[in-house]
């Protein structure tokens, strides 16, 4: 009996059309646009100015607090300007625009393909290198990784969980990474274990990726303490709390962090980035992005430099189809619809999904028929229909009591609603307001 989480969940059509497409390295673009906010937390502080010459991997914006991180140039060339440009959030962000000249790497970066397995670095040094390299959660949430590796006083991690679930339909970046970069991934996990001081790590992979499960299971023989946990396919299993529940059976209490049950979760992409940062001195300047969609002529997995225009990725995947209705940064369940494709790839860009006219529009909203499906599928055990009504009527104290802040915004409620009600839209609005009220109390 395969493991999974217990409450709620849905089964969207998987549509993993790029699952068998090997990762292709895209050529370095002529210009990159690198926003200084690519993570959750304080924006990084720009330390270059117009006209500066930068190398690939050179730091261009510095961490400005504990929950913040560094940003590096993903190309070598000349800083054209410091500007505000739109990113996938739909807001203008301060960004460094660099004209590419060559691809000359910063000193100390090891660009060879050789696998390095052993290091004598201690936990503290590893964590510092992770911070220096600007590593954030690459599953999409972009939470700075060094913060996760520094548990609050009195808390101790017992197990490291590695998220290879990739429960979002369409996306295959993590799947390809597990198949193609297995050894580097394993070393990255060993480094994370060392940084945390744990001797056990479990990689959770859904069984719709049997090749990845098989490949990594073979590799675990060479890496002590790492296990593979095959999981049933169910969305949102990649949610942090759901993954912890699925693998360890423990439930993170409301409002608490995973460390409260002794777990730390990192994405497979993050673990690979950790390997490169610690063993190769290579900061986070590129990532794997799935570019996909039913109408796209060449859906692909690309390895791209951060700051590459999304437009270039779509061109490389066959160009924007005529029947395009929506372009989404991320997957179809939690990704963000973007207004323009003139935006850069950032650290959190796990995929670019093109939805056509048939799929890309919402249907008319009908009366709630009180079928209770939103309640049934909510992985947090909440009552989305009720939270929507409370948000609509602005009954904030009641919404707080009904644990609106526990919502992980997975979208299972809206996805499943037969009356097409915009449940999550209202719940997000409610969370925003209730979150503000809670903060104002402090």
């Amino acid at each position: 009996m395969l493991k999974t989480f217990k409450i709620g969940g849905v089964h969207p059509a998987e549509n993993k059309i790029t699952a068998t497409k090997a990762v292709v390295k895209l050529p370095i673009p002529k210009t990159v646009t690198i926003p200084v906010t690519q993570h959750i937390g304080a924006p990084s502080k720009v330390i270059v100015k117009r006209g500066d010459v930068v190398k690939t991997g050179q730091i261009i914006a510095q961490s400005s607090g504990f929950v913040s991180t560094n940003i590096h140039s993903s190309v070598s060339g000349k800083v054209l300007k410091i500007d505000t440009v739109y990113d996938s959030s739909g807001y203008k962000k301060e960004s460094v625009v660099i004209n590419t000249e060559q691809d000359e790497w910063d000193e100390g970066v090891d660009t060879s393909p050789d696998l390095i397995k052993h290091t004598d670095l201690d936990a503290k040094t590893i964590t510092n290198k992770i911070l220096d390299a600007g590593i954030v959660g690459l599953g999409g949430a972009t939470f700075p990784t060094h913060v996760k590796l520094s548990p609050p006083p009195g808390m101790k991690a017992e197990v490291l969980l590695i998220n290879g679930v990739e429960c979002e339909p369409y996306l295959t970046a993590d799947h390809r990474l597990m198949l193609e970069r297995g050894d580097e991934l394993m070393v990255g996990i060993m480094l994370l274990m060392k940084a945390l001081g744990v001797n056990r790590a479990v990689i959770g992979i859904e069984r719709n990726k049997p090749d990845a499960i098989e490949h990594l299971t073979t590799l675990t023989k060479n890496y002590e303490g790492i296990e593979i946990c095959p999981l049933k396919v169910k969305y949102p299993q990649g949610g942090e709390k759901q993954l912890i529940k699925a693998i360890t059976g423990r439930e993170v209490p409301s409002g608490a962090l995973p460390i409260a049950v002794g777990a730390v979760v990192n994405n497979v992409g993050t673990a690979l980035a950790v390997y490169e940062a610690v063993m190769k001195n290579k900061p986070l300047i590129e990532r794997i992005v799935t570019v996909t969609g039913k109408s796209l002529s060449k859906p692909s997995n690309f390895l791209v430099r951060i700051g590459t225009p999304v437009k270039d990725l779509i061109e490389a995947a066959g160009g924007l189809p005529d029947d395009t209705a929506k372009v989404i940064s991320g997957g179809p369940m939690m990704g963000k619809a973007v207004a323009t494709i003139d935006i850069p790839v950032t650290k959190g860009t796990s995929g670019i999904l093109i939805l056509n006219e048939n799929e890309g529009h919402r249907k008319p909203v009908l009366n709630c028929i009180r079928c209770g499906r939103c309640v049934e599928v909510c992985p947090m055990g909440l009552e989305p229909y009720f939270l929507m009504t409370l948000s609509e009527k602005k009954v904030w104290d009641k919404a707080e009591k009904e644990q609106i802040m526990d919502c992980i915004e997975c979208g299972s409620c809206s996805f499943t609603c037969p009356a097409n009600r915009p449940l999550l839209d209202y719940i997000r609005y409610g969370k925003l307001t209730v979150g503000g009220i809670i903060r104002s109390r402090k």
Binding site: D342, E359, G360, G372, P379, G381, L382, N420, D425
Partner: protein, 329 residues
């Protein structure tokens, strides 16, 4: 870029189930039992069903068009479903004008006066049925002799009514049972009753279909059946002369129709699974109480309506298990 992109918050895909699909699935599940009643009762059953469905649809359309002044939504199938359920709850010989009146009350009062689909606190078909039962008790309890009669001419009453009258008259249950149809006949529908009461087997087939299509879950129908079975089972063990056995209670009357198709009405049943179990136990207990000690031989309609009234309360106080909630907390 020439083309404007659509922007909405996530999620960007839909499961594909719609209100229409749900309603038509329930209707589809009812077809075998309905067809069987046409076969057993003949033309009057067809006329009753047609009258009921057309009246329900027309009443909804007229109210939406001319009173509420909104775009009519009769295509969603909910009025058709109410019409079918209403017809399945009456005897085949019911005068058509009473049927029309029942439909007006069911949809007009039971559904539209609260704002239409999703807004009504009570199951509309049951509101219509109970209205007819109270206003026209004689017509509503006059069952026609069926075409393939297996019981003698006195059996214009239903098996449940016969047991109730018999016990009141001093006879013991085993004596009465000898004059009644056997379980096989109750399952297949060879006895008198309302249109939808006569074949437990076909109603159960419909339930299996709805369970597979995930239109309903097992919680409500099976909990009602289990409650009725256990409650009447205990009484039967205590005094088999006074009380009929649990299988008879499950197979007779409107229990299957009510438990599978009316109590599961999404609009009027609780949202959480915990709540649905409480609601279903309540229906089971009230049904048996009315059957055994109440004024009517059958009690599921009243039981469902009473528990419908408790649904908001249940929704308010019975919450699903929250993620991270303590096991015993």
């Amino acid at each position: 870029m020439d083309k404007l992109l659509t922007i909405t918050p996530s999620p960007h895909i839909k499961q594909g189930d719609s209100v229409n699909k749900i309603m038509y699935s329930v209707i589809f599940a009812l077809i075998p039992a309905l067809a069987w009643s046409f076969f057993i009762f003949g033309l009057p059953a067809v006329l009753i069903t047609l009258t009921s469905v057309l009246s329900c649809v027309l009443v909804e359309w007229l109210i939406q068009k001319f009173i509420m002044k909104v775009e009519p939504t009769v295509k969603d199938g909910s009025a058709i479903l109410t019409g079918i359920l209403l017809a399945m709850n009456v005897p085949a010989g019911l005068p058509l004008w009473i049927m029309i009146l029942g439909a007006v009350v069911a949809v007009g009062v039971g559904k539209m006066s609260f704002g239409g689909l999703g807004q009504n606190p009570f199951n509309p078909a049951l509101v219509g049925r109970v209205f007819m039962l109270i206003s026209f008790p004689v017509q509503m309890t006059t069952w026609p002799n069926i075409t393939r009669q297996v019981v003698d001419a006195t059996s214009e009453a239903t098996p449940l009514a016969l047991v109730k009258e018999g016990v009141k008259g001093g006879a013991s249950v085993p004596e009465i049972m000898q004059t009644l149809p056997g379980y096989d006949e109750l399952l297949l529908g060879n006895f008198s009753g309302s249109l939808g009461e006569i074949s437990a087997a076909l109603l159960l087939i419909g339930m299996v279909y709805m369970l597979i299509r995930k239109v309903i879950t097992w919680h409500i129908p099976l909990t009602i059946m289990a409650t009725v079975f256990v409650f009447t089972g205990i009484l039967y063990l205590v005094d088999p002369l006074q009380y009929a056995d649990p299988v008879f209670h499950l197979l007779s009357g409107g229990l299957m129709l009510g438990a599978i198709y009316m109590a599961t009405d999404m609009v009027t049943s609780p949202m959480s699974k915990r709540g649905q179990i409480i609601y279903a136990i309540g229906i089971g207990l009230i049904t048996v109480s009315i059957r055994l000690w109440g004024a009517y031989p059958e009690g599921i309609s009243f039981a469902i309506l009473i528990m419908n009234a408790f649904t908001p309360l249940i929704n308010n106080y019975v919450k699903p298990k929250r993620f991270g909630e303590k096991k015993n907390g």
